[in-house]
Protein backbone atom coordinates (compact mmCIF):
# COMPACT_ATOMS: atom_id res chain seq x y z
CA UNK A 1 0.00 0.00 0.00
CA UNK A 2 3.04 2.21 -0.55
CA UNK A 3 2.70 2.49 -4.29
CA UNK A 4 4.01 -1.03 -4.53
CA UNK A 5 1.99 -4.18 -5.01
CA UNK A 6 3.08 -6.89 -2.58
CA UNK A 7 1.63 -10.34 -3.16
CA UNK A 8 1.80 -13.19 -0.69
CA UNK A 9 2.07 -16.39 -2.73
CA UNK A 10 1.53 -19.97 -1.56
CA UNK A 11 2.59 -23.14 -3.37
CA UNK A 12 1.78 -26.72 -2.25
CA UNK A 13 1.23 -28.58 -5.51
CA UNK A 14 3.67 -31.41 -4.88
CA UNK A 15 6.32 -31.99 -2.22
CA UNK A 16 7.50 -28.50 -1.31
CA UNK A 17 5.57 -26.32 1.13
CA UNK A 18 6.41 -22.82 -0.03
CA UNK A 19 5.44 -19.20 0.53
CA UNK A 20 6.89 -15.95 -0.77
CA UNK A 21 6.27 -12.25 -0.89
CA UNK A 22 6.85 -10.68 -4.31
CA UNK A 23 6.81 -6.93 -5.00
CA UNK A 24 5.43 -5.64 -8.29
CA UNK A 25 5.74 -9.07 -9.84
CA UNK A 26 9.50 -8.87 -10.06
CA UNK A 27 11.19 -8.29 -6.75
CA UNK A 28 11.36 -11.28 -4.41
CA UNK A 29 11.14 -9.98 -0.86
CA UNK A 30 11.13 -13.49 0.61
CA UNK A 31 11.08 -17.04 -0.68
CA UNK A 32 10.60 -19.73 1.96
CA UNK A 33 10.61 -23.40 0.96
CA UNK A 34 10.14 -26.38 3.23
CA UNK A 35 11.27 -29.39 1.23
CA UNK A 36 9.79 -32.78 2.06
CA UNK A 37 12.32 -34.67 -0.03
CA UNK A 38 13.99 -36.49 2.86
CA UNK A 39 10.66 -38.04 3.85
CA UNK A 40 9.69 -39.11 0.33
CA UNK A 41 13.17 -40.54 -0.27
CA UNK A 42 12.26 -43.35 2.14
CA UNK A 43 9.53 -44.37 -0.29
CA UNK A 44 11.42 -43.90 -3.54
CA UNK A 45 9.11 -41.14 -4.72
CA UNK A 46 6.48 -38.66 -3.68
CA UNK A 47 3.71 -40.27 -1.64
CA UNK A 48 0.68 -38.01 -2.16
CA UNK A 49 -0.99 -38.66 1.21
CA UNK A 50 2.24 -38.02 3.12
CA UNK A 51 2.89 -34.87 1.11
CA UNK A 52 -0.56 -33.55 2.04
CA UNK A 53 -0.03 -34.36 5.71
CA UNK A 54 3.29 -32.57 5.74
CA UNK A 55 1.86 -29.51 4.00
CA UNK A 56 -0.77 -29.10 6.75
CA UNK A 57 1.89 -29.36 9.46
CA UNK A 58 4.25 -26.82 7.91
CA UNK A 59 2.12 -24.33 6.04
CA UNK A 60 1.55 -21.73 8.75
CA UNK A 61 5.19 -21.63 9.79
CA UNK A 62 6.24 -21.28 6.14
CA UNK A 63 3.77 -18.42 5.54
CA UNK A 64 4.80 -16.67 8.75
CA UNK A 65 8.43 -17.06 7.69
CA UNK A 66 7.74 -15.50 4.30
CA UNK A 67 5.94 -12.53 5.84
CA UNK A 68 8.57 -11.84 8.47
CA UNK A 69 11.51 -12.32 6.10
CA UNK A 70 9.88 -9.78 3.81
CA UNK A 71 9.49 -7.45 6.76
CA UNK A 72 5.78 -7.18 6.20
CA UNK A 73 2.47 -8.30 7.66
CA UNK A 74 -0.67 -9.80 6.22
CA UNK A 75 -2.35 -6.40 6.69
CA UNK A 76 0.14 -4.72 4.40
CA UNK A 77 -0.15 -7.38 1.69
CA UNK A 78 -2.19 -6.41 -1.37
CA UNK A 79 -3.33 -9.87 -2.47
CA UNK A 80 -3.00 -13.56 -1.64
CA UNK A 81 -2.06 -15.89 -4.50
CA UNK A 82 -2.08 -19.67 -4.55
CA UNK A 83 -1.31 -22.50 -6.95
CA UNK A 84 -4.59 -24.27 -7.74
CA UNK A 85 -3.28 -26.71 -10.35
CA UNK A 86 -1.89 -28.78 -11.90
CA UNK A 87 -0.56 -31.04 -9.17
CA UNK A 88 -1.52 -33.59 -6.54
CA UNK A 89 -5.10 -32.84 -5.58
CA UNK A 90 -4.70 -33.44 -1.83
CA UNK A 91 -1.59 -31.29 -1.73
CA UNK A 92 -3.18 -28.50 -3.77
CA UNK A 93 -6.22 -28.47 -1.47
CA UNK A 94 -4.09 -27.61 1.56
CA UNK A 95 -2.70 -24.53 -0.17
CA UNK A 96 -5.98 -23.40 -1.69
CA UNK A 97 -7.97 -23.88 1.54
CA UNK A 98 -5.36 -22.03 3.55
CA UNK A 99 -5.02 -19.19 1.04
CA UNK A 100 -8.77 -18.72 0.77
CA UNK A 101 -9.16 -18.53 4.56
CA UNK A 102 -6.25 -16.10 4.84
CA UNK A 103 -7.53 -13.83 2.08
CA UNK A 104 -11.09 -13.97 3.37
CA UNK A 105 -10.18 -13.17 6.97
CA UNK A 106 -7.70 -10.45 5.98
CA UNK A 107 -10.11 -8.99 3.38
CA UNK A 108 -7.62 -9.32 0.55
CA UNK A 109 -8.24 -10.29 -3.06
CA UNK A 110 -7.45 -13.91 -3.95
CA UNK A 111 -5.59 -14.99 -7.07
CA UNK A 112 -5.47 -18.54 -8.41
CA UNK A 113 -2.27 -19.39 -10.29
CA UNK A 114 -1.39 -22.17 -12.71
CA UNK A 115 1.75 -23.94 -11.48
CA UNK A 116 3.26 -24.27 -14.96
CA UNK A 117 2.67 -20.61 -15.73
CA UNK A 118 4.44 -19.94 -12.47
CA UNK A 119 7.46 -21.92 -13.62
CA UNK A 120 7.65 -19.88 -16.82
CA UNK A 121 7.26 -16.62 -14.92
CA UNK A 122 10.19 -17.57 -12.66
CA UNK A 123 12.36 -16.23 -15.48
CA UNK A 124 11.19 -12.64 -14.92
CA UNK A 125 12.76 -12.56 -11.46
CA UNK A 126 16.33 -12.54 -12.73
CA UNK A 127 15.68 -11.60 -16.35
CA UNK A 128 13.45 -8.52 -16.15
CA UNK A 129 14.29 -7.73 -19.78
CA UNK A 130 12.52 -10.90 -20.94
CA UNK A 131 9.14 -10.14 -22.48
CA UNK A 132 6.74 -11.95 -24.78
CA UNK A 133 6.78 -13.24 -27.40
CA UNK A 134 9.35 -15.93 -26.66
CA UNK A 135 9.78 -19.67 -26.83
CA UNK A 136 9.41 -21.49 -23.52
CA UNK A 137 10.55 -24.96 -22.53
CA UNK A 138 9.04 -26.24 -19.29
CA UNK A 139 10.67 -29.42 -18.03
CA UNK A 140 9.87 -30.89 -14.65
CA UNK A 141 8.94 -34.06 -12.83
CA UNK A 142 5.37 -33.78 -14.03
CA UNK A 143 5.55 -31.71 -17.21
CA UNK A 144 7.39 -31.33 -20.48
CA UNK A 145 6.01 -28.53 -22.65
CA UNK A 146 7.43 -26.57 -25.53
CA UNK A 147 5.37 -23.43 -25.96
CA UNK A 148 5.19 -19.97 -27.37
CA UNK A 149 4.52 -17.31 -24.77
CA UNK A 150 2.44 -14.90 -26.87
CA UNK A 151 1.69 -12.48 -24.09
CA UNK A 152 2.15 -12.31 -20.31
CA UNK A 153 -0.81 -14.62 -19.76
CA UNK A 154 -1.19 -16.15 -23.21
CA UNK A 155 0.45 -19.45 -24.02
CA UNK A 156 0.40 -21.64 -27.09
CA UNK A 157 1.63 -25.19 -26.62
CA UNK A 158 3.46 -26.51 -29.66
CA UNK A 159 4.90 -29.69 -28.16
CA UNK A 160 4.36 -31.85 -25.12
CA UNK A 161 5.38 -35.26 -23.87
CA UNK A 162 3.24 -38.12 -25.09
CA UNK A 163 4.26 -40.35 -22.18
CA UNK A 164 6.66 -39.69 -19.28
CA UNK A 165 7.70 -36.20 -18.31
CA UNK A 166 11.45 -35.63 -18.60
CA UNK A 167 11.89 -35.49 -14.83
CA UNK A 168 9.88 -38.68 -14.43
CA UNK A 169 12.31 -40.48 -16.76
CA UNK A 170 15.20 -39.24 -14.61
CA UNK A 171 13.47 -40.57 -11.48
CA UNK A 172 12.72 -43.96 -13.00
CA UNK A 173 16.19 -44.47 -14.44
CA UNK A 174 17.82 -43.33 -11.19
CA UNK A 175 15.73 -45.87 -9.31
CA UNK A 176 16.58 -48.66 -11.75
CA UNK A 177 20.33 -48.10 -11.43
CA UNK A 178 20.06 -47.79 -7.66
CA UNK A 179 20.80 -44.06 -7.39
CA UNK A 180 17.54 -43.46 -5.56
CA UNK A 181 15.27 -40.46 -5.28
CA UNK A 182 15.20 -37.68 -6.40
CA UNK A 183 16.51 -38.87 -9.75
CA UNK A 184 17.36 -35.54 -11.37
CA UNK A 185 20.13 -34.37 -9.06
CA UNK A 186 21.37 -37.95 -8.53
CA UNK A 187 21.79 -38.62 -12.26
CA UNK A 188 23.28 -35.18 -12.77
CA UNK A 189 25.92 -35.88 -10.11
CA UNK A 190 26.70 -39.41 -11.29
CA UNK A 191 26.97 -38.27 -14.91
CA UNK A 192 29.78 -35.83 -14.13
CA UNK A 193 32.33 -38.62 -13.99
CA UNK A 194 30.89 -40.58 -16.91
CA UNK A 195 31.11 -40.41 -20.68
CA UNK A 196 27.95 -39.24 -22.44
CA UNK A 197 29.02 -41.16 -25.56
CA UNK A 198 29.68 -44.47 -23.84
CA UNK A 199 26.27 -45.92 -24.65
CA UNK A 200 24.00 -44.79 -27.47
CA UNK A 201 20.37 -44.64 -26.44
CA UNK A 202 17.70 -43.90 -29.06
CA UNK A 203 16.32 -40.38 -29.50
CA UNK A 204 12.66 -41.18 -29.81
CA UNK A 205 10.69 -39.81 -32.73
CA UNK A 206 7.05 -39.05 -32.11
CA UNK A 207 4.46 -39.24 -34.85
CA UNK A 208 1.84 -36.95 -33.34
CA UNK A 209 3.68 -33.65 -33.78
CA UNK A 210 7.27 -32.88 -34.59
CA UNK A 211 7.68 -30.93 -31.36
CA UNK A 212 6.19 -33.61 -29.10
CA UNK A 213 8.45 -35.57 -26.80
CA UNK A 214 8.62 -39.21 -25.75
CA UNK A 215 10.85 -40.31 -22.93
CA UNK A 216 9.51 -43.76 -22.13
CA UNK A 217 11.46 -45.17 -25.11
CA UNK A 218 14.75 -43.89 -23.72
CA UNK A 219 13.82 -45.19 -20.30
CA UNK A 220 13.00 -48.64 -21.73
CA UNK A 221 16.28 -48.69 -23.63
CA UNK A 222 18.11 -48.07 -20.36
CA UNK A 223 16.20 -50.90 -18.70
CA UNK A 224 16.91 -53.25 -21.58
CA UNK A 225 20.55 -52.33 -21.35
CA UNK A 226 20.55 -53.09 -17.62
CA UNK A 227 18.73 -56.41 -18.09
CA UNK A 228 21.09 -57.43 -20.85
CA UNK A 229 24.12 -56.56 -18.73
CA UNK A 230 22.70 -58.54 -15.83
CA UNK A 231 22.10 -61.63 -17.97
CA UNK A 232 25.51 -61.57 -19.56
CA UNK A 233 27.21 -60.73 -16.29
CA UNK A 234 28.62 -57.50 -17.68
CA UNK A 235 29.43 -54.80 -15.22
CA UNK A 236 27.48 -51.59 -15.67
CA UNK A 237 29.30 -48.31 -15.26
CA UNK A 238 26.68 -46.19 -13.53
CA UNK A 239 28.47 -42.94 -14.40
CA UNK A 240 28.58 -43.78 -18.11
CA UNK A 241 25.01 -44.93 -18.12
CA UNK A 242 23.82 -41.80 -16.30
CA UNK A 243 25.78 -39.53 -18.64
CA UNK A 244 24.57 -41.33 -21.77
CA UNK A 245 20.95 -41.39 -20.66
CA UNK A 246 21.12 -37.74 -19.68
CA UNK A 247 22.61 -36.83 -23.06
CA UNK A 248 19.80 -38.63 -24.88
CA UNK A 249 17.18 -36.61 -22.99
CA UNK A 250 19.07 -33.33 -23.25
CA UNK A 251 19.65 -33.76 -27.00
CA UNK A 252 15.96 -34.13 -27.71
CA UNK A 253 15.00 -31.15 -25.54
CA UNK A 254 17.61 -28.91 -27.15
CA UNK A 255 17.05 -29.94 -30.75
CA UNK A 256 13.27 -29.48 -30.49
CA UNK A 257 13.79 -26.05 -28.99
CA UNK A 258 16.26 -24.96 -31.67
CA UNK A 259 14.05 -26.24 -34.50
CA UNK A 260 10.97 -24.51 -33.13
CA UNK A 261 12.84 -21.23 -32.70
CA UNK A 262 13.88 -21.44 -36.32
CA UNK A 263 10.45 -22.34 -37.68
CA UNK A 264 8.59 -19.68 -35.70
CA UNK A 265 11.30 -17.07 -36.13
CA UNK A 266 11.69 -16.50 -32.40
CA UNK A 267 15.05 -15.43 -30.99
CA UNK A 268 14.19 -15.39 -27.29
CA UNK A 269 14.18 -18.70 -25.42
CA UNK A 270 13.37 -19.30 -21.76
CA UNK A 271 13.69 -22.55 -19.87
CA UNK A 272 11.83 -23.40 -16.67
CA UNK A 273 10.92 -26.21 -14.28
CA UNK A 274 12.91 -28.49 -12.00
CA UNK A 275 14.78 -30.28 -14.78
CA UNK A 276 16.17 -26.97 -16.02
CA UNK A 277 18.32 -27.04 -12.88
CA UNK A 278 20.15 -29.97 -14.53
CA UNK A 279 23.72 -28.87 -15.29
CA UNK A 280 24.05 -30.82 -18.56
CA UNK A 281 20.78 -29.40 -19.89
CA UNK A 282 21.79 -25.86 -18.95
CA UNK A 283 25.19 -26.23 -20.61
CA UNK A 284 23.89 -27.84 -23.77
CA UNK A 285 20.95 -25.46 -24.17
CA UNK A 286 23.36 -22.58 -23.73
CA UNK A 287 25.59 -24.01 -26.46
CA UNK A 288 22.73 -24.74 -28.86
CA UNK A 289 21.27 -21.27 -28.38
CA UNK A 290 24.62 -19.58 -28.90
CA UNK A 291 25.17 -21.62 -32.04
CA UNK A 292 21.78 -20.59 -33.41
CA UNK A 293 22.00 -16.97 -32.42
CA UNK A 294 19.28 -17.30 -29.76
CA UNK A 295 19.14 -15.52 -26.43
CA UNK A 296 18.52 -17.90 -23.51
CA UNK A 297 17.05 -17.17 -20.08
CA UNK A 298 17.17 -19.77 -17.31
CA UNK A 299 16.27 -19.13 -13.68
CA UNK A 300 18.75 -19.90 -10.90
CA UNK A 301 18.24 -23.46 -9.66
CA UNK A 302 16.26 -22.28 -6.61
CA UNK A 303 13.66 -20.73 -8.94
CA UNK A 304 13.68 -23.79 -11.25
CA UNK A 305 12.44 -26.23 -8.65
CA UNK A 306 9.09 -25.61 -6.98
CA UNK A 307 8.87 -22.33 -5.12
CA UNK A 308 6.25 -19.71 -4.32
CA UNK A 309 8.15 -16.69 -5.64
CA UNK A 310 7.33 -17.78 -9.18
CA UNK A 311 3.65 -17.99 -8.18
CA UNK A 312 3.83 -14.43 -6.86
CA UNK A 313 5.30 -13.28 -10.19
CA UNK A 314 2.59 -15.01 -12.24
CA UNK A 315 -0.08 -13.68 -9.87
CA UNK A 316 1.00 -10.10 -10.47
CA UNK A 317 -0.02 -10.37 -14.13
CA UNK A 318 -3.44 -11.63 -13.04
CA UNK A 319 -3.62 -8.82 -10.49
CA UNK A 320 -2.95 -6.26 -13.19
CA UNK A 321 -5.65 -7.81 -15.36
CA UNK A 322 -8.05 -7.70 -12.42
CA UNK A 323 -8.57 -11.45 -12.59
CA UNK A 324 -9.43 -12.56 -9.07
CA UNK A 325 -10.75 -15.86 -7.76
CA UNK A 326 -13.90 -16.43 -5.73
CA UNK A 327 -14.16 -18.16 -2.35
CA UNK A 328 -15.20 -21.28 -4.23
CA UNK A 329 -11.76 -21.61 -5.85
CA UNK A 330 -11.10 -25.34 -6.13
CA UNK A 331 -7.96 -27.36 -6.72
CA UNK A 332 -7.77 -28.50 -10.35
CA UNK A 333 -5.20 -31.31 -10.53
CA UNK A 334 -5.27 -31.45 -14.33
CA UNK A 335 -5.34 -27.69 -14.94
CA UNK A 336 -4.18 -26.86 -18.45
CA UNK A 337 -1.86 -24.11 -19.46
CA UNK A 338 -3.76 -20.93 -20.28
CA UNK A 339 -6.99 -22.33 -18.78
CA UNK A 340 -8.89 -19.69 -16.80
Amino acid sequence: MNGNTDILAIETSCDETAAAVVRNGREVLSNVIYSQISMHTLYGGVVPELASRKHIEKINAVIRGALSEAGTTLDEIDAVAVTYGPGLVGALLVGTSEAKALAWAARKPLIGVNHIEGHICANYIEHPELRPPYLGLVVSGGHTHLLIVRDWTEFEIIGRTVDDAAGEAFDKVARAVGLGYPGGPKIDAAARSGSPDAIVFPRAKVNSSKYDFSFSGIKSAVLNYLNHAQMTGEEVCTADLAASFQKAVVDVLCSHTAEAAKEFGIREVAMAGGVSANSALRAEMERVCRENGLHLSVPSPVYCTDNAAMIGVAAWHEYQNGRFAGWDLNAVPGLRLGER
Binding site: S52, T96, H115, D328
Partner: protein, 255 residues
Protein backbone atom coordinates in the same frame (compact mmCIF):
# COMPACT_ATOMS: atom_id res chain seq x y z
CA UNK B 1 -17.05 -15.51 23.72
CA UNK B 2 -17.50 -15.80 19.99
CA UNK B 3 -16.32 -18.60 17.78
CA UNK B 4 -16.42 -19.90 14.25
CA UNK B 5 -16.88 -23.65 13.89
CA UNK B 6 -16.23 -25.72 10.79
CA UNK B 7 -16.80 -29.32 9.83
CA UNK B 8 -15.80 -30.97 6.57
CA UNK B 9 -14.83 -34.36 7.96
CA UNK B 10 -17.38 -36.39 6.04
CA UNK B 11 -19.89 -35.88 3.26
CA UNK B 12 -21.42 -32.91 5.03
CA UNK B 13 -19.90 -29.45 5.04
CA UNK B 14 -20.97 -27.19 7.86
CA UNK B 15 -20.11 -23.77 9.23
CA UNK B 16 -21.47 -22.14 12.38
CA UNK B 17 -21.03 -19.02 14.47
CA UNK B 18 -21.59 -19.29 18.19
CA UNK B 19 -21.74 -16.45 20.71
CA UNK B 20 -21.77 -17.74 24.28
CA UNK B 21 -24.82 -19.98 24.33
CA UNK B 22 -26.46 -18.46 21.30
CA UNK B 23 -26.10 -20.10 17.94
CA UNK B 24 -26.03 -17.07 15.62
CA UNK B 25 -25.92 -19.09 12.43
CA UNK B 26 -25.39 -22.53 11.04
CA UNK B 27 -25.13 -23.56 7.41
CA UNK B 28 -24.98 -27.28 6.62
CA UNK B 29 -24.95 -28.86 3.20
CA UNK B 30 -24.79 -32.53 2.36
CA UNK B 31 -24.51 -32.56 -1.39
CA UNK B 32 -22.17 -33.74 -4.11
CA UNK B 33 -20.06 -30.61 -4.36
CA UNK B 34 -16.57 -30.78 -2.92
CA UNK B 35 -15.99 -29.10 0.44
CA UNK B 36 -13.28 -27.04 -1.15
CA UNK B 37 -15.97 -25.30 -3.20
CA UNK B 38 -18.57 -25.00 -0.45
CA UNK B 39 -16.95 -24.47 2.94
CA UNK B 40 -15.63 -20.93 2.59
CA UNK B 41 -18.63 -19.61 0.62
CA UNK B 42 -20.80 -21.01 3.44
CA UNK B 43 -18.71 -19.31 6.09
CA UNK B 44 -18.84 -16.12 4.05
CA UNK B 45 -22.62 -16.36 3.89
CA UNK B 46 -23.17 -16.87 7.62
CA UNK B 47 -20.61 -14.20 8.46
CA UNK B 48 -22.25 -11.59 6.28
CA UNK B 49 -25.77 -12.50 7.39
CA UNK B 50 -24.79 -12.08 11.01
CA UNK B 51 -22.64 -9.01 10.26
CA UNK B 52 -19.79 -10.81 11.95
CA UNK B 53 -17.02 -8.57 13.19
CA UNK B 54 -13.99 -10.80 12.61
CA UNK B 55 -11.92 -8.90 15.16
CA UNK B 56 -14.40 -10.06 17.83
CA UNK B 57 -13.90 -13.76 17.12
CA UNK B 58 -12.01 -15.50 19.94
CA UNK B 59 -11.24 -18.84 18.35
CA UNK B 60 -11.94 -21.11 15.42
CA UNK B 61 -13.14 -24.65 16.09
CA UNK B 62 -12.79 -27.50 13.66
CA UNK B 63 -13.69 -31.16 13.80
CA UNK B 64 -10.13 -32.41 13.71
CA UNK B 65 -10.77 -36.04 12.99
CA UNK B 66 -11.32 -38.76 12.28
CA UNK B 67 -12.82 -38.39 8.83
CA UNK B 68 -11.94 -38.37 5.18
CA UNK B 69 -8.27 -37.39 5.03
CA UNK B 70 -8.85 -34.80 2.35
CA UNK B 71 -11.99 -33.45 3.98
CA UNK B 72 -10.22 -33.06 7.31
CA UNK B 73 -7.41 -31.14 5.64
CA UNK B 74 -9.81 -28.75 3.92
CA UNK B 75 -11.32 -27.92 7.31
CA UNK B 76 -7.94 -27.80 9.05
CA UNK B 77 -6.26 -25.62 6.43
CA UNK B 78 -9.24 -23.27 6.55
CA UNK B 79 -9.05 -23.12 10.35
CA UNK B 80 -5.28 -22.58 10.24
CA UNK B 81 -5.65 -19.78 7.72
CA UNK B 82 -8.33 -18.07 9.84
CA UNK B 83 -6.22 -18.56 12.96
CA UNK B 84 -3.17 -17.06 11.29
CA UNK B 85 -5.00 -14.09 9.81
CA UNK B 86 -7.02 -13.27 12.93
CA UNK B 87 -4.35 -14.28 15.43
CA UNK B 88 -6.67 -16.64 17.27
CA UNK B 89 -6.24 -20.24 18.45
CA UNK B 90 -7.75 -23.39 17.01
CA UNK B 91 -9.99 -25.66 19.07
CA UNK B 92 -9.63 -29.26 17.90
CA UNK B 93 -12.94 -31.04 18.42
CA UNK B 94 -12.98 -34.83 18.10
CA UNK B 95 -15.34 -35.53 15.19
CA UNK B 96 -17.16 -38.37 16.90
CA UNK B 97 -17.70 -36.47 20.13
CA UNK B 98 -19.17 -33.62 18.08
CA UNK B 99 -21.46 -36.09 16.31
CA UNK B 100 -22.56 -37.58 19.65
CA UNK B 101 -23.36 -34.06 20.88
CA UNK B 102 -26.08 -33.84 18.25
CA UNK B 103 -28.13 -36.05 20.57
CA UNK B 104 -27.95 -33.85 23.67
CA UNK B 105 -30.07 -35.16 26.49
CA UNK B 106 -30.58 -38.59 25.04
CA UNK B 107 -30.60 -41.44 27.51
CA UNK B 108 -28.67 -44.47 26.46
CA UNK B 109 -25.25 -45.10 25.04
CA UNK B 110 -24.47 -43.00 21.97
CA UNK B 111 -22.43 -44.68 19.26
CA UNK B 112 -21.58 -42.45 16.31
CA UNK B 113 -20.08 -44.45 13.47
CA UNK B 114 -18.30 -43.22 10.39
CA UNK B 115 -17.40 -45.32 7.41
CA UNK B 116 -13.63 -45.80 7.59
CA UNK B 117 -13.41 -48.10 4.53
CA UNK B 118 -11.13 -51.12 4.57
CA UNK B 119 -13.83 -52.98 6.56
CA UNK B 120 -13.56 -50.63 9.48
CA UNK B 121 -15.57 -47.89 11.10
CA UNK B 122 -14.49 -44.95 13.22
CA UNK B 123 -16.44 -45.01 16.40
CA UNK B 124 -16.46 -43.79 19.97
CA UNK B 125 -18.92 -44.39 22.80
CA UNK B 126 -20.54 -41.52 24.66
CA UNK B 127 -23.24 -40.79 27.17
CA UNK B 128 -24.90 -37.70 28.61
CA UNK B 129 -24.63 -37.38 32.37
CA UNK B 130 -26.02 -34.33 34.09
CA UNK B 131 -26.24 -32.55 30.76
CA UNK B 132 -22.58 -33.13 29.94
CA UNK B 133 -21.16 -35.36 27.29
CA UNK B 134 -19.05 -38.11 28.83
CA UNK B 135 -16.66 -40.22 26.79
CA UNK B 136 -17.21 -43.88 27.64
CA UNK B 137 -14.64 -45.07 25.11
CA UNK B 138 -12.53 -42.73 23.01
CA UNK B 139 -12.82 -42.61 19.24
CA UNK B 140 -10.85 -45.17 17.25
CA UNK B 141 -10.84 -47.17 14.04
CA UNK B 142 -12.14 -50.71 14.49
CA UNK B 143 -14.03 -53.46 12.71
CA UNK B 144 -17.79 -53.25 13.02
CA UNK B 145 -17.78 -56.75 14.51
CA UNK B 146 -15.43 -55.53 17.25
CA UNK B 147 -17.81 -52.68 18.01
CA UNK B 148 -20.68 -55.16 18.20
CA UNK B 149 -18.73 -57.38 20.61
CA UNK B 150 -17.91 -54.35 22.73
CA UNK B 151 -21.54 -53.29 22.89
CA UNK B 152 -22.65 -56.82 23.76
CA UNK B 153 -20.19 -56.86 26.66
CA UNK B 154 -21.30 -53.43 27.89
CA UNK B 155 -24.95 -54.40 27.41
CA UNK B 156 -26.34 -50.98 28.42
CA UNK B 157 -29.79 -51.35 29.95
CA UNK B 158 -30.93 -48.10 28.31
CA UNK B 159 -29.90 -49.23 24.82
CA UNK B 160 -27.69 -47.77 22.12
CA UNK B 161 -28.36 -44.96 19.65
CA UNK B 162 -26.42 -45.04 16.40
CA UNK B 163 -25.77 -42.12 14.10
CA UNK B 164 -23.29 -41.05 11.46
CA UNK B 165 -22.48 -41.79 7.85
CA UNK B 166 -21.38 -45.30 8.82
CA UNK B 167 -24.97 -46.25 9.63
CA UNK B 168 -26.15 -47.02 6.08
CA UNK B 169 -23.31 -49.50 5.53
CA UNK B 170 -23.53 -51.00 9.03
CA UNK B 171 -27.22 -51.17 9.74
CA UNK B 172 -27.88 -54.65 8.35
CA UNK B 173 -25.13 -56.24 10.40
CA UNK B 174 -26.08 -54.28 13.53
CA UNK B 175 -29.72 -55.37 13.27
CA UNK B 176 -28.68 -58.98 12.72
CA UNK B 177 -25.88 -59.34 15.24
CA UNK B 178 -26.62 -56.92 18.07
CA UNK B 179 -29.09 -58.23 20.65
CA UNK B 180 -28.84 -55.01 22.68
CA UNK B 181 -31.86 -52.71 22.09
CA UNK B 182 -30.81 -49.99 19.67
CA UNK B 183 -32.16 -47.21 17.48
CA UNK B 184 -30.95 -44.84 14.80
CA UNK B 185 -30.97 -41.06 15.00
CA UNK B 186 -33.16 -39.26 12.45
CA UNK B 187 -31.99 -36.98 9.65
CA UNK B 188 -31.94 -33.70 11.60
CA UNK B 189 -29.27 -35.08 13.90
CA UNK B 190 -27.56 -38.02 12.24
CA UNK B 191 -24.74 -36.22 10.42
CA UNK B 192 -22.00 -33.77 11.37
CA UNK B 193 -23.18 -30.30 12.35
CA UNK B 194 -20.86 -27.41 13.03
CA UNK B 195 -23.25 -26.17 15.76
CA UNK B 196 -22.56 -29.30 17.83
CA UNK B 197 -18.83 -28.88 17.29
CA UNK B 198 -19.16 -25.24 18.34
CA UNK B 199 -20.90 -26.07 21.60
CA UNK B 200 -18.30 -28.67 22.51
CA UNK B 201 -15.56 -26.30 21.45
CA UNK B 202 -16.79 -23.60 23.79
CA UNK B 203 -16.40 -26.00 26.70
CA UNK B 204 -12.92 -27.04 25.54
CA UNK B 205 -11.94 -23.38 25.16
CA UNK B 206 -13.07 -22.56 28.67
CA UNK B 207 -11.00 -25.49 29.94
CA UNK B 208 -7.98 -24.04 28.13
CA UNK B 209 -7.90 -26.91 25.66
CA UNK B 210 -6.92 -25.29 22.41
CA UNK B 211 -3.78 -25.06 20.28
CA UNK B 212 -2.09 -22.42 18.17
CA UNK B 213 -3.18 -22.27 14.54
CA UNK B 214 0.38 -23.18 13.54
CA UNK B 215 0.43 -26.33 15.67
CA UNK B 216 -2.97 -27.62 14.61
CA UNK B 217 -3.09 -30.73 12.41
CA UNK B 218 -5.84 -33.27 11.84
CA UNK B 219 -6.13 -36.44 13.90
CA UNK B 220 -6.31 -39.12 11.23
CA UNK B 221 -6.40 -42.14 13.57
CA UNK B 222 -4.76 -44.02 10.76
CA UNK B 223 -1.43 -44.06 9.03
CA UNK B 224 -1.15 -43.62 5.30
CA UNK B 225 -1.09 -46.73 3.15
CA UNK B 226 2.54 -46.09 2.18
CA UNK B 227 3.59 -45.96 5.83
CA UNK B 228 1.71 -49.16 6.65
CA UNK B 229 3.27 -50.99 3.71
CA UNK B 230 6.73 -49.75 4.59
CA UNK B 231 6.36 -50.84 8.22
CA UNK B 232 5.22 -54.25 7.07
CA UNK B 233 8.20 -54.53 4.77
CA UNK B 234 10.63 -53.49 7.49
CA UNK B 235 9.06 -56.02 9.85
CA UNK B 236 9.20 -58.93 7.46
CA UNK B 237 12.67 -57.88 6.34
CA UNK B 238 11.68 -57.91 2.69
CA UNK B 239 13.71 -55.81 0.35
CA UNK B 240 12.16 -53.00 -1.60
CA UNK B 241 9.56 -53.94 -4.14
CA UNK B 242 10.21 -54.22 -7.82
CA UNK B 243 11.41 -50.71 -8.70
CA UNK B 244 8.87 -50.35 -11.47
CA UNK B 245 5.84 -51.08 -9.38
CA UNK B 246 7.08 -48.34 -7.07
CA UNK B 247 7.81 -46.15 -10.01
CA UNK B 248 4.14 -46.24 -10.83
CA UNK B 249 3.57 -44.33 -7.63
CA UNK B 250 5.75 -41.42 -8.66
CA UNK B 251 2.81 -39.37 -9.80
CA UNK B 252 4.35 -35.95 -9.69
CA UNK B 253 2.10 -33.01 -10.04
CA UNK B 254 4.89 -30.54 -10.23
CA UNK B 255 8.60 -30.54 -10.27
Amino acid sequence: MKLIALDSSGLTASAAILEDDILLAEYTVNYKKTHSQTLLPMLDAVASMTELDLSAVDAVAVTAGPGSFTGLRIGSATAKGLGLALDIPVIEVPTLAALASNLWGASGLIAPIMDARRNQVYSGLYRFEGGRLITVRDQQALALTELIDELKALNPSDGVIFLGDGVPVSRDLLDRELPVPHSYAPAQSNRQRAASAAVLARRLYEEGRYVSADAHAPVYLRKSQAEREREKQLKTGEGPQDPFSQAARGQHGGT
